[in-house]
């Protein structure tokens, strides 16, 4: 009989939390910092928490950030989850960024809720 219980196994992850206005310069810096960190903590997933941020970038910036990820994270095979504010504008930007990152071959997904990000970063087994 099913118990209605799930087992969560969540891979270790690096959480980057940002606050304030995101611009291209800072975004590229964050990508480089993350690349350095992941080189020390191999096998970890990444959680980017951008809920307390604003963006004034355009699609060209997203392309450049995606290219920087591709450049810095050449051998990165783990998941990258991004949490964004729950607004139509941010979701549209996140969808565009996801398309760019998928084209670069990354396991990249965005969420509005922390809980959904953890679900995606976890192996979940139903008992």
């Amino acid at each position: 009989m099913p118990l209605g219980i799930k087992v969560y196994q969540t891979r270790d992850f690096i959480r980057k939390t940002a606050k304030g206005t995101i611009d291209l310069e800072h975004s590229l810096k964050v990508v480089r910092e993350l690349a350095t960190t992941t080189s020390y903590f191999k096998g970890h997933s990444i959680l980017l928490d951008l809920r307390d941020t604003e963006v004034d970038d355009d699609h060209t910036d997203a392309l450049q950030v995606a290219a920087e990820f591709a450049n810095q994270f050449r051998s990165f095979k783990n998941k990258i989850a991004v949490i964004v504010p729950d607004t139509a504008e941010r979701m549209a930007k996140a969808e565009f960024m996801r398309t760019c990152m998928h084209l670069e071959g990354f396991q990249w997904e965005f969420f509005m809720a922390y809980e959904d990000a953890i679900d995606w970063l976890s192996d979940i087994t139903e008992l």
Partner: protein, 131 residues
């Protein structure tokens, strides 16, 4: 823009999610189910998610529930997190259950946000802040 970088090492956990009305019979059944699962997965913490429930349990029944957990004390080895709706009535009830279970020797905490549960279930190591 300011940033912080943190390393998370989350422990495995068992999650029991309930919805609808929770009376004593359903709650006791949930305790039995959890005891069975906890015995099988001894290294995992336990998350009881009752955010989508209405509780019809009285204060006396809360104590009965804590006693039932106590009957299976030997099967629960790790942390137990209870995730509840953020209402004063539910917080009061959950805190009563916590006090009773503290007395039974359980490591239990009450939360209203999933995020804080994961923090409690994880080893969290700050790696620095930048601007």
């Amino acid at each position: 823009m300011s940033c912080s970088l943190t390393l998370y090492k989350p422990s495995d956990f068992l999650r029991k999610t309930a919805t609808g009305k929770m009376d004593l019979a359903r709650s006791l059944q949930a305790v039995h189910d959890l005891a069975q699962a906890a015995d099988f997965h001894r290294d995992g913490h336990i998350l009881i998610d009752v955010r989508e429930t209405e509780s019809t349990i009285t204060h006396l029944e809360q104590m009965r529930l804590a006693m039932e957990f106590g009957n299976y004390r030997h099967l629960f080895h790790n942390k137990i997190a209870i995730l509840i709706p953020p209402t004063s009535e539910r917080i009061e009830k959950a805190n009563l259950l916590k006090r009773c279970m503290d007395a039974e020797g359980f490591e239990i905490k009450v939360f209203v946000a999933f995020e804080h549960v994961i923090e409690w279930f994880s080893e969290v190591e700050p790696l620095g802040e930048t601007t």
